[in-house]
């Protein structure tokens, strides 16, 4: 199987659709078969995320300490079970330190299209319910929404609501950063409201295989098996260059086909850069071992006396002091006479994907006459562990926020009384357009993941978890009515205002 540029991922492409039909046709015909879905068909047949209904109950002492939390989460899953209630139930209270917690998830069979994974599947809806309730509870106990969350935030050593004990985590630091962010102090005008909310995602590691091949000219070809959906080739090239101590422009990452690499799990669970960088580092270190051996051979000295520094073999020890360093390029050029091609490989299960947390702030203005909303300002604070390619990490934060804002405000599958989807197209399924959004500020926190050599955590999914709640809290604060239904489209807001 060869990899293609697949466009955005977001989980929806981790499922098999009608590909087996194309395969069968191709076998029959003895010719290539191309499967094309129209946008209409993608909307109708590839599967949206679940529609949900969630009940949350949280109890706190007057001093603001949460003592118990309970949630019942119902996720629609079309005609098949095996969908997403579990991740919703597991993530719902993951931000908080709770002695007593219960979550019950249901998968509800409905006469609707099957559902599919969508970026941190099931977590955003759970966070919408929980973070809305947290805001209400903070008001009840008379505490600031941020302070209330800081008081109850999980920390290193806390047993998470879904079982494991947390290592070093970022929920507290993102909340502290939000508390001190200038956004929180900016004045608001008439009909404007500010909301904030937290979010959690597990992240995933999985089976990963990478080849790092060194050409005779000293350039690096990095063969990766996680399909690039957001710039991971650039990030992984940076990692390879960093390990080898060479210039980024000498590394070229390619997404290899299945006959060129060992098995790779698909690009899901925010694992692309996390797991493939882990394998790239390991492959580079294996290559460096070989490079040192070749240099030792070229110099005729023991390999123990050869170090690898800044892209060069360096002879160590008093007896070799005057040997000029051997750059990677020279070792590569000589490889034909020193033992053949030089490459590093890595096959691993990338265990220990660090969990990640984010806290978002949203300012919104509501037109009380029409129910229309305008996002005025938006800030994302998220723990990346280590941001390998900071601009792409910011892009993941901003993109997740934008998708979440769309979901919160106007994105909706509208079914007729006949059960058919009525808005199967980009004109009436209203994802945000450029003029709907402000700039999205980001703050990257780096609390290293102890299980990754550089401290990397997945970053792609966490950013969509808080926005539904952050926007809902902002709208609720703007209009003085608790918004319990998304999307908060103009008719719903107007109805809430008049209720």
């Amino acid at each position: 199987m060869t990899a293609s540029e697949i466009g955005g991922g977001f989980g929806g492409k981790t499922h098999v659709w009608a590909e087996p039909v194309a395969l069968a046709l191709s076998r029959k015909a003895g010719r290539p078969v191309k499967l094309v879905m129209t946008r209409d068909e993608v909307f109708r047949a590839s599967g949206p995320t679940s529609a949900t209904s969630i009940d949350v109950k949280i109890g706190a002492l007057k001093d603001g300490t949460i003592v118990a939390a309970d949630a019942t989460l119902r996720y629609s899953c079309g005609p098949y079970t095996g969908a997403w209630a579990e991740t919703g139930a597991m993530t719902a209270f993951a931000c908080y330190k709770l002695e007593n917690v219960r979550t019950v998830g249901y998968e509800v069979l409905v006469n609707r299209p099957k559902t599919a994974a969508y970026r941190a599947p099931s977590a955003p809806m759970a966070a919408f319910a929980v973070e809305s309730a947290i805001d209400e509870l903070a008001k009840k106990v008379g505490m600031d929404a941020v302070d209330f969350r800081i008081r109850n935030a999980a920390q290193e050593g806390t047993r998470s609501s879904y079982g494991p004990v947390y290592g070093p985590i970022g929920i507290g630091p993102t909340l502290e950063a939000v508390k001190n962010h200038p956004h929180m102090k900016a004045p608001l005008g008439k009909n404007q409201g500010r909301g904030m909310a937290c979010g959690f995602w597990f992240n995933f590691g999985g089976q990963t295989c990478v080849d790092l091949n060194i050409g005779m000219d000293g350039t690096i070809s990095l063969a990766v098996g996680t399909v690039d959906v957001g710039g991971s080739r650039a990030s992984l090239s940076l990692v390879a260059a960093e390990e080898l101590g060479i210039d980024y422009s000498h590394v070229r990452a390619v997404i290899a086909d299945t006959s060129s690499l060992g098995f790779n799990d698909m690009t899901d669970g925010s694992r692309g850069t996390f797991s493939s960088s882990m394998a790239t580092i390991s492959a580079a270190r294996n290559a460096i071992k070989t490079l040192r051996e070749r240099a030792a051979q070229m110099w005729d000295i023991p390999v123990e006396d050869v170090a690898w520094e800044k892209g060069q073999a360096v002879a160590k020890g008093d007896s070799h002091g005057n040997l000029p360093n051997l750059p990677l390029k020279e070792i590569a050029a000589a490889s034909g006479t020193t033992g053949g091609p030089i490459a590093g490989h890595s096959e691993l299960v990338a265990d220990g994907a660090g969990v990640s947390f984010a806290t978002h702030i949203c300012d919104i203005e509501v037109d009380p006459e029409t129910g229309a909303t305008k996002v005025l300002r938006y800030t994302v604070v998220q723990d990346a562990g280590k941001a390998v390619h900071p601009t792409y990490v910011e892009g993941q934060y901003q993109g997740g926020a934008a998708q979440g804002i769309g979901w919160a405000l106007n994105e909706e599958y509208i079914y007729g009384t006949d059960g058919r989807l009525q808005n199967a197209g980009f004109l009436d399924y209203r994802i945000p357009v450029c003029s709907d959004l402000p700039m999205i500020d980001t703050q990257i926190l780096e609390i290293p993941n102890p299980n990754h050599p550089y401290g990397v955590r997945g970053v792609g999914e966490t950013s969509i978890v808080p926005p539904l709640a952050a926007v809902a809290n902002a709208v609720s604060n703007a209009v003085g009515v608790r918004m319990q239904h998304i999307p908060m489209s103009p008719p719903r807001i107007l109805a809430a205002l008049e209720a």
């Binding site: 129209t38 209409d40 037109d367 006459e369 029409t370 229309a372 405000l409 106007n410 509208i414 009525q422 808005n423 980009f426 004109l427 009436d428 209203r430 945000p432 357009v433 003029s435 709907d436 489209s489 103009p490 008719p491 107007l494 109805a495």
Partner: protein, 296 residues
């Protein structure tokens, strides 16, 4: 399927009249190609009218403006004289789809697509625009609101083509405006929309008014009661309140994916508070929901 690009209107009418199967006129294509893509129509003959020189221009004369059927909406926005005279008409035309769509779509196409939510039609109706229709039996001129007769249906007879849209010269102390409500700022279809044309006397009292609503009924709705409320007034707050009530009472919207009856009846396309009436010039918009008004 055949594709023909005639160079004269006579040829186009001849082709249309003689067509044995389904023949479709292609101007901007932003409705036709979408319908073909969706399999809703499969024409046997496509008549591309863009090579007909007479249809490709906006002409200004002593009587007003003649806008050819093949003029893209973007060109309306680039015509300074038209923008000055009929800002509401231009506003409506420039709210259709995206920049990309506006580079192709035409107001005649928008009219003949006969969608109740067509953005360019309410302002044309309020402005008293006429359609010059040519057919095998000669030409006729009708008020634009006579063209759509229901969703997707027009009063055009077999073989007829709209050659152009005619707009009068703007009278002194007069102006027009168009506004719509959409959930998104751009790339959206009006949930409900409104266009207005007013003429004032020297004292600032409304002498003549026409109000048209979009997406409020199967075709664009001319609200006579609204005009009556405006005439004789200075468009003060009380008048506007009565105007809003009259419009809500007159509209007969439907529930669909873009809005509910209840929401559509409630929506008021708002006059920005603090603006001095009468509205005359629509500035370049920065927001699809509310146009800005200025005294001329």
């Amino acid at each position: 399927m055949r594709y023909i690009r005639p160079s004269s209107l006579e040829d186009a009418i001849g082709l249309l009249a003689q067509a044995t199967g389904k023949a479709s006129i292609l101007a901007g294509g932003s409705d036709l190609l979408v319908k073909m893509k969706g399999g809703f129509i499969e024409p046997d003959l496509i008549i591309d009218i863009k090579a007909i020189d007479a249809l490709g221009h906006i002409r200004e004369s002593d009587d007003g403006f003649v806008i050819g059927a093949a003029v893209p909406c973007a060109v309306l926005g680039e015509n300074a004289a038209l923008r000055r005279a009929w800002p509401g008409v231009v506003e409506g035309a420039k709210l259709i789809g995206s920049k990309q769509v506006q580079g192709r779509c035409t107001i005649v196409g928008n009219l003949c697509n006969a969608s109740p939510a067509a953005d360019s039609v309410p302002a044309l109706v309020a402005a008293g625009a006429k359609a010059l229709i040519r057919g095998p039996d000669g030409s006729r001129t009708v008020a634009v609101e006579m063209v759509p007769v229901g969703p997707g249906k027009t009063s055009l007879l077999p073989g007829e083509i709209i050659e152009s849209i005619l707009l009068d010269k703007r009278l002194p102390n007069s102006g027009d405006a168009y506004m719509r409500f959409t959930p998104r700022t751009e790339m959206d279809i009006a949930v409900v929309s409104a266009a207005i044309y007013l003429t004032l006397d020297d004292q600032g009292i409304v002498q003549f008014a026409r109000v048209a609503l979009g997406a409020a009924a199967p075709t664009v709705l001319v609200v006579e009661e609204a005009a009556e409320i405006l005439i004789g007034s200075r468009v003060d707050d009380g008048t506007l309140e009565r105007l809003a009530q009259a419009c809500s009472a007159a509209c007969r919207p439907i529930d669909d994916k873009r809005g509910t009856i209840e929401f559509r009846k409630k929506l008021r396309v708002c006059w920005p508070s603090g603006s001095r009436s009468p509205p005359i010039n629509v500035q370049d918009r920065n927001d699809g929901r509310h146009s800005s008004f200025d005294d001329n």
